[in-house]
Amino acid sequence: MEIFNKIRLRFRLVLYFLIVVVISGAIATLVGIRLINTSIIKQAQNQVMHDLSSAWMVYNEKLDDLKDIVELTSNRFFLNTALTNNETGAAAKELEDTRVKYDLDFLTVTDEQGIVVFRASNPLVAGDDQSSDELVRRALRGEIASATQIVPREKLILESPKLAERAYFVLKKTPKAKPASKSVEDSGMVLKVAAPTFDHEGRIIGTLYGGILINRSYDIVDSIKETVYKGEAYKGKDIGTATIFQWDVRISTNVTELDGNRAIETRVSESVYDAVLINGKSWIDRAFVVRDWYITAYEPIRDIEGRIIGILYVGILEEPYIIMRQEIVWSMLKYLIIAVAAAMVIAFLLGRQITKPIAHLVHATRQIYNGFLPSTVKITSKDEIGILSESFNSMSHKLKQTLDEKDKAYAQLKDLNVRYLELLGFATHELMQPLGVLKGYLTMMQQSFSGKRLSPEQHEHAVGTMLRNVNMLVDMSQTYLQLSKIESGQLDTQKERTNVYHDIIIPAIESARPKLMVEEMELVIENENSLDRVDVWADPILLRIVYNNLISNAIKYGKRRGKIFIGFMGNESVFQFNVKNEGEGITEDKLDVIFEKFTRLGEPSRRKQRGTGLGLYNTKEIVTKHGGKIWAESAQGEWTDIIFTLPKTENGDENG
């Protein structure tokens, strides 16, 4: 589950990244493709416009060549002579040679009235009037006129029946073309030039006109293809094509049909028809020409009077542009794919960088769960995850610290509890002894005792013993109470400025007064004046226990009618206090043992009550707790002196 989530998080990051990249990539691609399209189309259109003007140049050059030929020929001597002398035979021969030489379709001579004198291409027919022809009319006025012209069938027949035959088109059914009003086109379209012929005095004596029939003549269109497109081909198709329309009919073209034949006798599409033939505008667009898409340009062809009579067309095969566009788009897509792949790798690495510390955190959390503390993670960043890691580490340390403290406190409590139970056991056992004594004597004093009644002496002895044991019980209770105060104080001591003489020693002496009187002991306070001024930093309740115990012990183990000395000495660093009694003293090897828990010294004494085994232990605990030391000195058979120190502090705060 943990791994599943981890992977999911990483893949989610990658996914988000990819979505962004793909969306922006897609937008970039669309925009790019659009830009490429527009620029390519624009380029192609510019190209086709340029090609069209080149085509016009070729077309007009052809007309100019024709003009030169006709002009030169019109002033040839033989023509002049023939017209002047009306000798047509030799001139007709000469003229026919010229026509063949320059590859003209017709070449005809008229007189100054415009009446045909002879025809090179059709010598048998003459005498017809050509003066109504605009070109001839202009030539008769002395101009050299050249233009494209539509020539009706009957006139073509006059020039040559072969021409009429060439111009005879049975129109093919063409999709998208305007509905045809006729099924046959029998007129022809010619490039024609007419020039005047002068006599030696400069009078116009006739005209010469000649021309080329464009129908089924591919000279011009192929020349355009050669000149503009250098005959380039793409996959077996011509890159560039050119067509000349007579009105809307293809009469000369190098666009081929599927069978490889030139696509003549077909017609232009309706939209081009309307734009170019009706409105006289240029027309540029992609068009499906016969069998391929072309980027095309159409412009009207006009006759000498400016009337639209046909169309000049050029077209560039669209496919190379499409291929070019595809190549550009592909290379762009290639970069896009590389970019996406790079983005994916980056996203994956980033994802890993982001999820890795999280995985570490998960691992560390598991460790904590399994009890390894403090379990920390390496902080590799300062971002939110870094902050989380840092918090986690501090939490881990804090947890460890808290648990350690708890463990320690638990151990302390356990220890205290053991000591408490130990004490309870000891106390019960100790209490049992005096209680046993009391029970025994009290039973004997009862009427129902199975033995003899106690004698007055026995009775006196029993009562004395019982009283002593009751006192011992009281003593014991007191030391246990002290101990409980000390032990509970281990958790909390309340130190304050305490005057040792007034707050501690005087009250302790007062409470010991009855015992002193019983033992007829004398108590001496040494160095009373300086003791009066001694203030210490201590818990007064605990410190009073110290003096109570020491005085009580001094009485308990001191000799009857002996003296007890309470003393004080101060040096630079510590206060030293002591309580000394007169008595049997303590052997040297026992001087340390007396401060241990539950130890009592000495053989049992009939007269005195015994110790509880806790008094000096308690005393030592309290002194130690206050930063002091305690020890015993003794002279066998003479005295015992218990000495303890307390640290001197200026304000008491340092050791508070």
Partner: protein, 130 residues
């Protein structure tokens, strides 16, 4: 004390207890010998040849079990009946402990402290068969 029923050795490290037991036994016409620890108990037993021994278990120097074992192992004294004083509630664990030391002690042989003098005297009579 014109006549005494029997001589009893009382052993306890607590003098007040010994005093008290002694008074109750003497008032029931027994002769009493005192001892305050295990070693002394064995000495006194050898010297005085008591009819019965009242023995405390918790004593310094030599405890009750040790003393009891020594007494039982000494053919001179093995016949002397021993009444063992034990803290209340410890009879069973003490019986087991005694067994582990090779001592044949029955629960009848124990008297729990604090001792009731009437009960002690009754048990002692049963013990001595008087």
């Amino acid at each position: 004390m014109a006549e005494t029923k029997a001589k009893i050795l009382v052993v306890d490290d607590e003098p007040d207890i010994v005093d008290m037991l002694k008074m109750s036994l003497e008032n029931a016409s027994y002769e009493v010998v005192e001892a305050y620890d295990g070693n002394e108990a064995i000495e006194k037993a050898k010297a005085e040849k008591p009819d019965a021994i009242i023995l405390d278990l918790m004593m310094p120097k030599k405890d009750g079990f040790e003393a009891c074992k020594e007494l039982k192992n000494d053919p001179e004294m093995s016949g002397i009946p021993v009444l063992v004083l034990t803290a209340i509630g410890q009879e069973i664990s003490h019986t087991r402990y005694a067994k582990s030391m090779g001592l044949e002690l029955e629960s009848d042989d124990f008297i729990s402290k604090p001792v009731d003098p009437n009960f002690l005297l009754k048990r002692l009579e049963e013990f001595l068969g008087t």
